[in-house]
Amino acid sequence: MTEFASVLQRVALIASDIQRFPPPDFESDYTMPLPATPAPRAPWLGGVDVIVLFAALSVGVYLVHKKRSRLSVFLLMVFSLIYFGFYRLGCVCAIGSIQNVSLAIANPSYAIPLTVVAFFLLPLVFTLFFGRVFCAGVCPLGAMQDLMLIKPISIPVWLQQALGLLAYLYLGAAVLFAAMGSAFIICEYDPFVAFFRLNGNPNIIILGVSLLIIGLFVGRPYCRFLCPYGVILHHFSRLSHWRVTITPQDCHQCQICEEACPFGAILPPTGEQNGQHWAPDKKRLIPALILTPILIAFCGWVFSMAGSSFSKMDYTVHLAERIVLEDTGQADGTTDASKAFRDSGQPGETLIQDAQNIMDRYVMAGWILGAFFGLVLSGKMIRLCLPDRRDDYEADRGDCLACARCFSYCPQELKRRRISRTAPVTAGSEAAVES
């Protein structure tokens, strides 16, 4: 078996210089063809995608902030669904680009394509200034779900908050697996890409259909509870320069808008009694702050324990595990992968050692992922201790998807628009409104 070990290296040496298979000398005038090599999509078309993305985002900003029309946002959404979804077949998307960015940061030998950088950054920058306009009208995954929403039900706040944590986990896992070079799970488990391509893995189609069915009643379940990019956009949106408002007019606290939002993103005024307790609730805040490092350490420990399970997403670890199972008689037969590995003559010990190294790295990464999740949990906890003050009904800056639904529900907004639409804007008419 020892000779087996070096076979591959030997072959690699020989294969490089022996490539002669002198073809026959044809007597007829036959000329030997070269294998056809059709070129990939032209690079400038990638530039077009970026331009379309930029344009769609800009139009979205105009529609949400200036035109304030749900119908227009809806049309933009349909356009994006057609362009980024059905025409570009869902690739590359801003959500998936998280993984390319992670890989590029973790692995210097991976040079990230500029198109992907643009898809990652443009929505972020727009969100930082204008809120989640990307989610509203540009993201094809969001559009897919938004179109399916027919009978929205509201879910309890606690459940909404709890489910929202899933997205943090997903983000953490996606970054982890991408940075480790093991998998791009956002793409692998992209639930809607199969619809864009009208074909796909049966499991993923079931996943997509199930999510769409849930989406009939629960508005945009992927966006709110799973989307890893949504997590980043959520936080950027909270810092956005211009916020998405239900109406620029004064709120009359009629509550109608709260009913209008299918995403539970409109929050009621906090009321007077909360206003008196404007200062943080120290009785709860101090324990929460003390608990923070404990929570971080605890989650880190839990996730590091799970590190070896995470590592099974890695090809090498998976293969090594299979080889060990076969060697110890716990698995019958071979898989294509294990047979190919055995046929290649590479020594099993090297593979198992490689796998062990990867698993060790995953345990380390588990600490980081766990600490991140612990931080998220404590962040949520601390925020619960810092009461918000809202005098009016407001869209939650983080959760609001800028879909523009609520605008037409607000009586104040209707009033404002009817006037600005019907009456010519003159000093007189404005004065009349003022009075």
Partner: protein
């Protein structure tokens, strides 16, 4: 009435969501990430040679007589036998020599091109095919003569030395080149159908040249002027007495005293014996005995390399098979059923 209806609706919605959630979980959990369930294609899409690789045990006339000899090459290419049954092997740019028991002898020849053919004469002088030209060494490994190159693209795959004429099989031109004893090129002959770079020659004791026309699945007999005298051999993958695949036999050697021909095939990797008229006698080794190797070669890591066996026969009639991937020599001896039954009887 209305409120019960609403309540019912809520129940229905809850149920639908629960079922869909089940779908989400199930679809993620049951995903065959690594494609281990295989391609899911029907049997007509599977390629399977296992039936063809089975050999009737009654047809196997030889067994491995001694431990395999590790040649020390990284890749075995050709094998030849010397006057005292020394074994000469080529691999890469080197020639190694072993005595008949498999002990490595000190002589090593190394050139700066791949060594592609070797023939050893009765006086011990070594004719080496060095890719595109012939070099002659004496028994001690001293270079005696270097002949002119045939040209780029040439690949000398076999050399036959007769008292007056030297024949070189050139895969590049798909022809046999005739030289006089001093190395002057006389002419070339043949229009061989050789799809892959295997092209073996041999010289019979009654003065005829044998050549393997692999694309036609034939062993052809030529006179020393290059006239085709006769041929035998046929294609079949199923019938073991015929030659398989696109192009076989890839190599062959003569048994002592004109008693027959040993042939090697690729595809169904096997070694067989024919009598001198080309009638099938039996197997030296069936395709099963190269199982491990076939597994190994099933990875196209090996796509650019010669995977084929080479064979030589020593004066005792032992069949020496050079297995290129493991670069080792297998020594086969005929199972003498007559002798063994007689000795048992006494």
């Amino acid at each position: 009435m209305k409120s019960t209806k609403q309540k019912n609706n809520q129940w229905v919605i809850g149920l639908v969501i629960a079922v869909a959630l089940g779908g989400v979980v199930l679809s993620i959990v049951s995903t065959d990430r690594f494609g281990e369930k295989g391609n899911g294609l029907g049997p007509e899409y599977q390629y399977d040679l296992s039936e063809l690789r089975k050999t009737d045990p009654a047809m196997i006339l030889y067994k491995e007589a001694s431990p395999r000899i590790n040649t020390g090459h990284s890749w075995g290419r050709a094998i030849a036998v010397g006057p005292e049954d020394q074994i000469y092997t080529l691999g890469g740019q080197q020639l190694h020599v072993f005595d008949s028991t498999g002990k490595r002898l000190p002589l090593t020849i190394e050139r700066d091109k791949e060594l592609t053919a070797v023939t050893v004469l009765k006086d011990g002088s070594i004719y080496l095919g060095v890719t595109d030209h012939i070099e002659i060494f004496d028994a001690s490994g001293q270079l005696k003569s270097q002949w002119e190159s045939i040209g780029s693209g040439a690949e000398i795959t076999s050399i036959v030395v007769t008292p007056d004429i030297v024949f070189a099989a050139d895969f590049g031109s798909r022809s046999v080149i005739r030289y006089d004893a001093s190395g002057q090129k006389l002419d070339s002959f043949g229009d061989f159908n050789l799809p892959s770079n295997y092209f073996d020659l041999a010289y019979t004791s009654d003065g005829q040249l044998l050549a393997a026309n692999t694309g036609e699945h034939r062993i052809e007999t030529y006179d020393l002027k290059g006239n085709l005298m006769s041929w035998w051999g046929e294609f079949s993958n199923q019938e073991p007495d015929k030659f398989c695949g696109c192009c076989n036999p890839i190599s062959f050697a003569l048994l002592p005293g004109q008693s027959g021909i040993v042939t090697c095939e690729k595809g169904l990797t096997r070694v067989k014996v024919y009598d001198k008229e080309g009638r099938f006698v039996g197997f030296v080794a069936g395709a099963e005995s190269f199982d491990q190797r076939d597994g190994l070669t099933a990875t196209p890591e090996y796509c650019y390399n010669r995977m084929g066996l080479d064979v030589a026969v020593d004066s005792q009639g032992r069949v020496l098979v050079l297995e290129p991937v493991m670069a080792e020599i297998r020594v086969y001896q005929r199972i003498n059923t007559d002798n063994s039954s007689r000795s048992q009887g006494i």
